[in-house]
């Protein structure tokens, strides 16, 4: 008896080979993605190169030596404006670099403030530390660069200290007593200035809200698009297509429904995030609205295409789970993309999760105006259109067999 139960189960699996294959493939694919994200070689270990801007307000021989040494780190990629040919680009004032960080173009800017070398040479002067203008949505980059600053300034200070010692040793005892004690021996002071943390209205949770919202948007849409396959199965689709309803109207209707449901779903999620976690939804309503509409639209088109591709609901579910989980992992819905290697980060850009999350981060984290959302909005809108088109073509199989 028990044997028969097992036998029947195995036979049914055998007849649904594709779905079963997928259930075995899901964990493997998933594991592989996470392995790549966290792998020593490709992921964290060979840490992603950090983009920084260097500002030298001090403009002394010592500060120039310091920034040159800093730029030599493999891990760092120093920002230069387009078309700049020289070896190293250094801002002379902090403001433009600060703008770059605020706009999300760079995670960090290193500022050597005026009077830095002076304060090092003169123990009596007010101490002036290095500044790191940081976007704390990427804590990894901040820590990496802080460590590098410490090492670089330490090395230079040690060198200076040694030179000074030689000078001191060549002095007569009287002259030695007269000479100022320098700070070269003391560890470098580094002040991390978080450009966003001061703003209580943008807690990190807004990023997670977006990540989770996009993932469930996809699951919700697929659940809804599966009704097409049920309708096919019980001949309701036959009946619908025998009426005045055309396939275009049917798909457009399904798409609209999924998009509306998706918009409501994401809105409820963010409203809850506002109530419970202080995400400032009301303060970012326009950006949130446009991002949510295009993201929900893209998710609906994705779900329609997937349904048109699959033969039955079981297959749709299996395929959807693997795709959505992979897209979410790659696109940053599960692990923030900044912990991934550069290759993985650019690879993630093929998922529209990544574009959606970037858009939401621009809105909630960076407070950027609508105009700055153009790349994300265009990519998502184009995705929605193209996938709908693909779904429409695939749906031909339902029109006549």
């Amino acid at each position: 008896m028990i044997g028969t139960v097992v036998r029947v189960g195995l036979l049914r699996m055998w007849h649904g080979r594709t779905e079963i294959l997928l259930t075995f493939v899901v964990p493997i694919a998933f594991f592989t993605i996470f392995a790549f994200i966290f792998d020593e070689q490709i992921g964290l270990g060979k840490s992603p190169r950090v983009d920084i801007a260097i500002v030298d307000e001090d403009s002394t021989e010592l500060s120039r030596e310091f920034v040159t040494a800093l730029a030599e780190w493999e891990t760092l990629r120093v920002y230069a404006p387009a078309g700049y040919q020289e070896k190293l680009f250094v801002f002379t004032a902090a403001e433009p670099a600060r703008e770059l960080v605020l706009a999300g173009i760079l995670p960090l800017a290193v500022v050597v403030p005026e009077g830095w070398s002076g304060s090092l040479a003169n123990p009596d002067a007010q101490p002036v530390g290095l500044q790191l203008l940081a976007d704390s949505s990427d804590p990894v980059a901040t820590q990496v660069v802080t460590a590098l600053l410490r090492q670089t300034s330490g090395r230079i200070a040690a060198e200076r200290g040694r030179q000074q010692l030689e000078v001191l040793l060549s002095l007569s005892p009287d002259e030695f007593a007269e000479s100022p004690m320098s700070r070269f021996g003391t560890p470098a002071a580094i002040e991390v200035i978080d450009l966003f943390a001061a703003d209580k209205a943008n807690p990190v949770v807004s990023m997670y809200a977006a990540g989770i919202a996009v993932m469930f948007l996809l699951f919700g849409a697929v659940g809804n698009s599966g009704t097409l396959l049920e309708e096919e199965d019980n001949q309701t689709l036959d009946r619908l297509l025998c009426s005045n309803l055309t396939m275009n109207q049917l798909l457009a209707g399904k798409w609209l429904l999924m998009t509306l449901v998706g918009i409501v779903q994401v809105t409820i999620m963010f409203a809850w995030a506002q109530l419970a976690f202080g995400v400032d939804l009301l303060g970012h309503l326009p950006g949130f609205a446009v991002m949510t509409v295009v993201t929900a639209g893209a998710a609906s088109s994705f779900a329609l295409t997937l349904a048109a591709l699959c033969r039955n609901r079981a297959q749709l579910n299996a395929v959807a789970v693997i795709l959505i989980l992979c897209m979410s992992a790659l696109g940053g819905s599960m692990v923030p993309r900044y912990v991934m290697s550069e290759t993985m980060q650019s690879f993630g850009k093929i998922t529209f999760n990544a574009w959606a999350l970037d858009g939401y981060i621009k809105v909630f984290w960076r407070n950027l105006p609508l105009a700055d959302l153009v790349p994300e909005l265009s990519v998502l809108a184009a995705t929605a259109l193209v996938l709908f088109g693909v779904g429409r073509i695939l749906a031909r199989r339902w029109e006549n067999s």
Partner: protein, 317 residues
């Protein structure tokens, strides 16, 4: 509701056809589902498309309603050639499955399919009310259809296909899986439509339905319509007016001239023109050959015998 006189409807029937199908071929890979199938549904008639499982009935109906594109052949409706899809407003279609939204109420289902067929406003409301009365489900109108018995579901299934009052109605096995009372009820519903002038084509593999509930019959087998006509026509052109006489013997016998031996050899079948004249002779011959008749059955020609004559096999229920 206007009720047209059935006699005038039937007078028109001979002059014009509601559907005329010629040489329809449809292949699915290696299977030929329709093999030069042809038939005519006259205006105001009820035509049964009778055939065993896999004969191609559903495929034929799907081709007519544009859900399947035939590989070749032509379909004319009400005198005009039908395009592969679309242009079928006068057509109503009731699928073989219960094609309803189980999580909507009967009224909501009717309302939805009425809208899809282009009904709006008062017209839609009237049609839904009419359908609820017609199906006898007015008191269950606001229950979810998934809570209905299969006969009730069947009725709603049919109603959803006729809300827009089609001139031609296609029903694919409208009574499959329902008890005799529900079947009668469904046929009374269809009769009401027929009296109002709707031409009806229904597929079935139930002989008695075809025989009693329809005006003419088309027999389809292996994708080809092998006979078409009234029951009388079919009988005359196949088995003729002969009666079949089945003798059951006490002991099996091997062979006897003029008889066909059936089953375990205890049944002898003969065909006779006149029972009163020929029966004594047959009985005599059996007795002379040593057989002992324990029972005998005289069968008038029926659709059953026509079917066996044409296809060489029984039609399972």
């Amino acid at each position: 509701m206007m009720v047209s006189d059935p006699t005038t409807t039937r007078d028109r029937a001979d002059s014009e056809s509601a559907l005329r199908i010629r040489d329809l071929v449809k292949r699915f890979g290696p299977t030929t589902a329709l093999n030069r199938a042809g038939l005519e549904l006259r205006r105001g008639e009820r035509l049964a498309l009778l055939g065993p499982n896999g004969a191609g009935k559903t495929t034929l109906v799907r081709c007519i309603c544009g859900r399947s594109v035939p590989d070749s052949g032509s379909i004319e409706m009400l005198g005009r050639q039908l395009p592969p899809s679309g242009g079928r407003h006068e057509l109503g279609f009731v699928p073989q499955e219960i094609a309803l939204y189980p999580d909507l109420t009967a009224r909501e289902n009717l309302d939805a399919f009425g809208r899809f067929h282009g009904l709006t406003g008062g017209e839609l409301r009237d049609a839904v009310e009419w359908a609820l009365q017609w199906t006898g489900l007015a008191d269950r109108a606001d229950d979810l259809t998934k809570t209905f018995s299969s006969g009730m579901k069947r009725r709603v299934n049919i109603a959803c296909g006729v809300l827009h009052r089609p001139l031609v109605l296609l029903l694919d096995e409208p009574t499959v899986g329902v008890d005799p009372q529900s079947r009668d009820r469904i046929f009374r519903m269809l009769e009401e439509l027929w009296r109002q002038g709707t031409s009806i084509l229904l597929t079935t593999h139930q002989l008695d339905e075809a025989e009693r509930q329809c005006d003419r019959i088309v027999i389809i087998d292996h994708g080809h319509a092998i006979a078409e006509g009234t029951l009388g026509d079919l009988i005359a052109s196949t088995v003729g007016a002969n009666r079949r006489v089945v003798f059951t013997l006490a002991e099996a016998c091997s062979e006897l001239a003029g008889f066909t031996v059936r089953g375990d050899g205890r049944r002898l079948v003969a065909e006779v023109e006149d029972v009163a004249r020929d029966l004594p002779g047959l009985l005599n011959r059996i007795r002379e050959s040593g057989g002992q008749v324990s029972d005998l059955d005289v069968q008038p020609p029926s659709l059953h015998s026509v079917f066996i004559h044409l296809t060489g096999r029984e039609l399972r229920e």
